[in-house]
């Protein structure tokens, strides 16, 4: 009972928040709504017993990602109203609603899930975090490491793109100008 109430409550809240995110013309509202939505999602995770995931969700999203976006907003000076020319709203609404209805239609049907055996079952009496750690560092060790590489890539990318290196474009300079810069740096 509690579960159902919680589900419907958070479902409503999440949907509302996300809806605000995609519709509001205030960037700040959008950001706030998004952050709130993220938090509500973590609630689902806790409901579903994925404590570790919930924590990660809050830390990563509400912490890191939101902070990044907030900085971005300040940088881009989008705290004012965002003016957006709108195209054909019917296309947007139509496409989304149709896709949603189609998928929902199918998902509403019960699944034949008789013979599904959990490959990496949750262990009774063990905390979710431990459980996750076990799987993560055995089976999912490689993806985990690759994810690390990916984060490294993202970091390098962020540094390169946002850093000073991109200020002067060698691509658009003539060879003589590049030479000049090089010699200046050397001297």
């Amino acid at each position: 009972m509690f579960e159902a109430i919680a589900f419907y409550l958070f479902a409503f809240l999440t949907a509302l928040m996300f809806f605000i995110t995609v519709t509001t013309s205030q960037a700040l509202h959008a950001l706030t709504a998004l952050a709130a939505g993220m938090i509500f999602i973590s609630a689902f995770f806790f409901i579903l017993g994925a404590d570790f995931l919930g924590a990660v969700q809050i830390v990563v999203y509400s912490g890191a990602v939101m902070a990044l976006y907030a900085f971005g907003m300040m940088f881009f000076d989008t705290t004012r109203d965002v003016k957006e020319k709108q195209g054909n709203k019917y296309i947007i609404a139509g496409l989304s609603i149709v896709s949603a209805i189609l998928v929902v239609l199918i998902f509403a049907a019960p699944m034949v899930t008789d013979n599904i055996t959990a490959l990496y079952p949750m262990t009774e009496g063990v905390g979710n975090t431990q459980d996750v750690g076990m799987v993560l560092f055995t089976k999912y060790l490689v993806p985990f490491e690759v994810a690390a590489v990916m984060l490294l890539v993202a970091m390098v990318a962020g540094i390169v793109l946002a850093g000073k290196k991109m200020d002067a474009s060698l691509t658009e300079m003539s060879e003589a100008e590049i030479e000049e810069i090089n010699t200046r740096e050397l001297s």
């Binding site: 049907a109 008789d114 055996t117 459980d131 089976k139 590489v149 890539v153 474009s169 003539s174």
Partner: protein, 502 residues
């Protein structure tokens, strides 16, 4: 309390990780070098990258020996999967990259190649792609895909001019959408089978006889959209022309070859069992998508006024051609896919390199893009050898025998014929004919028109350095004498594909 897990190193089969580890280590090495001593010349990094790739290639060779003797190898908690497909596609990925990276040694300096991060990114991309092809797990595929994609977005943007930013942003945003599709699709399969490993998915689905057809279809739709985006299937192709135009010619060439083969392998793994298990819907939809990709790609290429953009659309069309091999789904067609892609790699490498060497920093008067057709007017008179080489690549792309790509087309069409896809084979044939027009258009400009006033041959090779010329020479040889290599290639590929069970 959880039991501690004891795992012996042997059982991990770390060897399966070597080919991917090497580029990662190489990339880290480059980053480290840059930290300790900045301002080093790009030649150093090109050399290091090449060496790393070379070692990578060696490990692949030994992996292929392992495969030849022991068959499919799994390792690291069954996460890594080294089978024939993985090996061939990694050969293509690494081999093609080895030919693309020296393109950074152009005569003129461009932004991206002047910074070591670019080479690190390059190697990360390759590592990501290698992970994608060498696994069964949708998770690792996803992570590998994103690793390579993020690096690619950055590399595109590093060309550092408006068009390249525009291209990168477009690519990135659509890529994010595609990532959403991918995760949704993976979720559906997971919901269906309780697993994200393709093998397991196939087993479970087969066991319950595709009872939840609706779920399967939804999952397939999202997967098709995600993978279709990456290889540029219509209507998920819209990024391709803009991204190709925005990035440097060398990068565009790389994009047209290397990431796509990884996606093809994933698609092959994922769709093969679906097609063969009677999901007729997939067959029909794939048929429609393949035909419209081939045809529309061609039709849009017809009306382009920029050569690089034309090549982008033609790459879309070629991707459709190759996707047909997955649709057909026989050993012959899967082998044909790899054969086609190897030959396509040679030809496209050559074509994009030719554009690359003719790259000027300032646009000539009256031209709106880097490689407009007008730029190549009367090339035969001012720069005959360049014109001949370019013409050769165009003819090869058009599928004119005996140049490289013809053999790929031949084999794919043959596989279509063999499996009863006669109409598809005819569509392929007619599309090749349509494609002839736009390749010919460039030839017409080069060979049959007079040069624009004051144009000299120098502009066609203004960006040419010895390295680029060597690459082009290699591509030329590969394109002309492909016929000699077909037989060993075909034997090798067929054996590997067959032994992998595809």
């Amino acid at each position: 309390m959880l039991e501690p897990v004891n795992i012996s190193l042997e059982s991990l089969n770390i060897v399966t990780l070597y080919p991917m580890l090497i580029p990662v280590i190489g990339a880290l090495l480059i980053l480290c070098i840059d930290i300790f001593k900045g301002g080093l010349d790009r030649t150093l990094y090109v050399a290091i990258t090449l060496l790393v790739l070379f070692i990578d290639f060696q490990t692949l060779l030994s992996a292929s020996n392992v495969f030849a003797t022991e068959g499919t190898v799994v390792g690291v908690f069954d996460m890594m999967l080294i089978d024939g497909l993985a090996i061939i596609s990694q050969f293509i990925i690494v081999g093609a990259s080895m030919f693309f990276i020296p393109l950074a040694l152009s005569k003129k300096q461009f932004h991206e190649s002047s910074y070591p991060e670019f080479f690190a990114m390059f190697l990360f991309t390759i590592a990501g792609l290698q992970f994608m092809v060498a696994t069964d797990s949708l998770i690792l595929i996803f992570v590998g895909l994103e690793t390579s994609s993020l690096a690619v977005y950055t590399m595109i943007a590093m060309h550092n001019r408006d068009k390249s930013f525009e291209a990168a942003v477009k690519y990135f945003t659509m890529g994010a959408l595609a990532a959403g599709f991918y995760s949704f699709g993976a979720m559906v399969f997971y919901a269906l089978t309780g697993s994200v490993e393709i093998n397991q998915i196939a087993t479970v689905l087969a066991a319950n006889g595709y009872a939840d057809m609706g779920y399967v279809l939804v999952g397939t739709v999202f997967m098709l959209a995600a993978l279709g985006f990456k290889v540029g299937l219509v209507p998920f192709h819209t990024w391709a022309p803009d991204v190709y135009e925005g990035s440097s010619a060398a990068m565009a060439g790389f994009l047209s070859i290397v990431p796509k083969i990884a996606i093809f392998v994933v698609a092959m793994r994922l769709f093969e069992f679906l097609i063969h298990s009677g999901v007729i819907w997939l067959e029909i939809v794939l048929y429609i998508v393949v035909v419209s990709t081939m045809t529309m790609g061609n039709i849009w290429a017809l009306v382009q006024s920029d050569v690089k953009r034309m090549l982008a659309y033609s790459s879309i069309s070629h991707a459709g051609f190759v996707m047909a091999a997955i649709l057909i789904g026989t050993t012959q067609s899967n082998s044909a896919l790899f054969l086609y892609w190897i030959l396509f790699a040679f030809t496209n490498l050559g074509a994009f390199s030719m554009l690359w060497i003719s790259r000027q920093k300032e646009l000539p008067h009256g031209q709106t893009s880097d490689h407009s057709y007008e730029k190549f007017s009367g090339m035969i008179q001012t720069s005959p050898i360049t014109a001949l080489v370019m013409g050769l690549f165009m003819l090869s792309l058009a599928g004119l025998p005996p140049f490289a790509l013809f053999w790929g087309k031949l084999y794919i069409m043959s596989s279509a014929v063999t499996s009863g896809y006669t109409v598809l084979a005819l569509v392929m044939a007619l599309n090749s004919a349509i494609a002839g027009y736009y390749y010919l258009k460039l030839i017409v400009y080069m060979f049959m028109k007079d040069p624009v006033d004051g144009a000299t041959g120098a502009s066609f090779s203004s960006n040419a350095s010895l390295a680029l010329k060597a690459i082009i020479g290699f591509a030329v040889i590969g394109t002309i004498f492909a016929i000699i290599a077909i037989n060993p290639l075909l034997e090798f590929i067929s054996a590997f594909v067959y032994n992998s069970g595809y």
